[in-house]
Symmetry: C2
Subunit: 196 residues, 2 copies
């Protein structure tokens, strides 16, 4: 039906996301994706060497959106301390919203995450770099101390310390009552630890 438009990697990725959303990671097949696009599955293989590569590309796209959403905090103006808490709160809110709003989609996402740890590692690098940018501003302004092992190591420590509030592995906890308090307590502990 959509055979009029040319088949691009982008269109295949959109269809794949839709198929994953509808059937889940276990049942979504390349044939399903091709059917959704009204083409033969052979055509999909022209754009993606394997099913794994296709799923990896979807995962990458998905994660990339988070980085984009958080960029304002990393680059935006304002005091570094507020930008850091804003960044952490926004990340947690994003994740919680996704996990709470559509648990099945979150489960699908978690499977993809598990399949593509290399992609995830690269994504974590991006996020840590965003934290590091905020920390660097804070150090420059004298509100944060440069950590014992450099800003990047400290940024990673901030990311690791808040792991429970952004790692999909903990998504099941995010609906628990009191999780907000736990989050605030950790953020408070971490920001105290950063103070100059």
């Amino acid at each position: 039906m959509a055979a009029t438009e040319t088949l691009t990697a982008e269109r295949i990725l959109e269809a794949t996301e839709e198929v994953l959303r509808r059937y889940g990671p276990a049942k979504a097949t390349v044939v399903d994706v091709a059917r959704a696009l009204g083409v033969s599955h052979g055509s999909v293989y022209r754009h993606f060497r394997t099913k794994a590569a296709l799923r990896e590309a979807v995962t990458e796209r998905w994660l990339e959106r988070n980085v984009t959403e958080l960029r304002p905090y990393a680059e935006g103006p304002g005091p570094a301390a507020e930008r850091l808490t804003g960044w952490l709160e926004h990340l947690f809110a994003l994740k919680r919203q996704k996990a709470g709003g559509d648990p099945e989609l979150m489960a699908t996402f978690q499977v993809l995450i598990g399949e593509n740890s290399a992609v995830v590692d690269r994504h974590v690098e991006h996020l840590v770099a965003q934290i590091a940018a905020v920390l660097a501003d804070g150090v420059r302004d004298g509100v944060f101390a440069a950590g014992d092992h450099g800003v990047t190591a400290t940024a990673r420590a901030v990311f690791d310390a808040t792991d429970r509030f952004h790692d999909p592995a903990h998504a099941a906890d995010w609906a628990a009552p009191g999780i907000e308090d736990d989050f605030r307590a950790v953020v408070s502990l971490v920001t105290r630890g950063l103070r100059a």
Copy 2:
């Protein structure tokens, strides 16, 4: 063969642990446990109402050992700051050792953990209480600040912030190079955050 000894809950738990170790969580059956003890499976049901209850008891025993191992840091003498880092390091070392030394056993353990979240929650309470005891000593001695929301909330924040280094969900990461540095960076950040 061991039919001479009386059948106790304790002996059943030992046999169950052995069976779990040998066959893994998916294959370990109540019949296997009974066979290992040389009794009928009906006898096992005299001591544990269900297979789930049996597994829960094993999980509880397993976790209890950790609490015992860490008690010296919680109660022992010495400066609170050193006891805290010692406690955190010992916990991480314990977990890493188990995960690295016998990955299959760790996987088994992780399945049991997942099945028995109520038991795990109680166990976490115990661990947080141990941290809280150290923090309370530190506050008394003037080396730690009482957190904004009380010692227990702060203790939980310490536990949460170091989650990546004790939660079995992250066991796969514990063999990565640089994990030691990551751990030290988080502990450093946290202890800074606690200082009076």
